[in-house]
Symmetry: C2
Subunit: 183 residues, 2 copies
Amino acid sequence: MNMTPLSQDFVLHFGEMGSRWGINRTVGQIYALLYVSERPLNADEIADALQFSRSNVSMGLKELESWRLTKLQHLPNDRREYFTAPEDIWAIFRTLADERRKREIDPTLSMLRDAILRGANNPEDKYAQKRMKEMHDLIEMVTLWFNEVHRLEPDTLKQLMKMGSKVTKLLEMKDKLKIVSGK
Amino acid sequence: MNMTPLSQDFVLHFGEMGSRWGINRTVGQIYALLYVSERPLNADEIADALQFSRSNVSMGLKELESWRLTKLQHLPNDRREYFTAPEDIWAIFRTLADERRKREIDPTLSMLRDAILRGANNPEDKYAQKRMKEMHDLIEMVTLWFNEVHRLEPDTLKQLMKMGSKVTKLLEMKDKLKIVSGK
DNA sequence: CTATACTTTCAGTAATTACTGAAAATTCAA
DNA sequence: TTGAATTTTCAGTAATTACTGAAAGTATAG
């Protein structure tokens, strides 16, 4: 199978960007290929299109699976496994954010929690703990917020985002209403 | 210079996490060390504390500088350069988000823009472009929103975040007010 | 069962990235 | 200027990570 130049470029770009994220080139390219492919692809087709060894594709797919970024399906009269990227781009975005939180944020948060609770006699440790607490509180707040917002419907979220900094107007409005109603 | 066990653990953890992000262990550790250190440190002190070669520290500091995550200063009667992490954790967060956007998002966005504008005769390309447009629009929206929110005062932002999904209540309220006022 | 189609694992190797020490460059006091 | 203190660069090497082919594993049709 040969890709069109358009898909080629997309796939190659994703490969490069992949390395700026934590994921490697192979994984980036496989994902990109699935993302722009209308029909599901099997591992051999992927290996062929990207010129990777079959085993490399197998490992890449496993990695993508661990990120929950692929869907697996079977076609009638075909024993091979076929892969696609989830349709809904919002779902993809959520999944990605979720996985990154789990892998990159949560461990740090729990380390910080532990460190803050330790005894600290000397001034250095006192200062260090103060700094860690600042970091912890910020991360925790953003994380909690993220979890909440996560549950909103895409349309609601879209609406909120499109408002941008204008949400502050709503905040002011809220405060005024409170004053008026005497709350 | 020897670190306290508390700082040790923090620094080591950051080194490990560093590799889950795009940055390497050295850079992660240097940053962590600066972050929990009350007084500015010079490159030799860093090399000593972390047991890295002087040149490695030099490179790490350069990398951190390119992320705008260090501040440089001079002490009286001392020619050496002293480094600190910025005080304000919100500023750090912004800087980080900003840099990541520049390096990891913007290039993709412009690639997508180009790809979408290209001619597409065959159905594959048509589909690919549709998918790219979806991705482009989502990323663009989130980016624009981010840029807007970026400018808010930390306190305002905090307030918004603490509300979490309750902002939707405000949205509903707004809509009701519009109806009442006939807008 | 058995044969076949397909997938995964893994040891070895290739490629990439990180790190070091020596040398060059820079800065600044005298 | 000179030279001592400091920083940066860079070629070589070490360590890590990515990739491959062969072999083992798994599933299913007959």
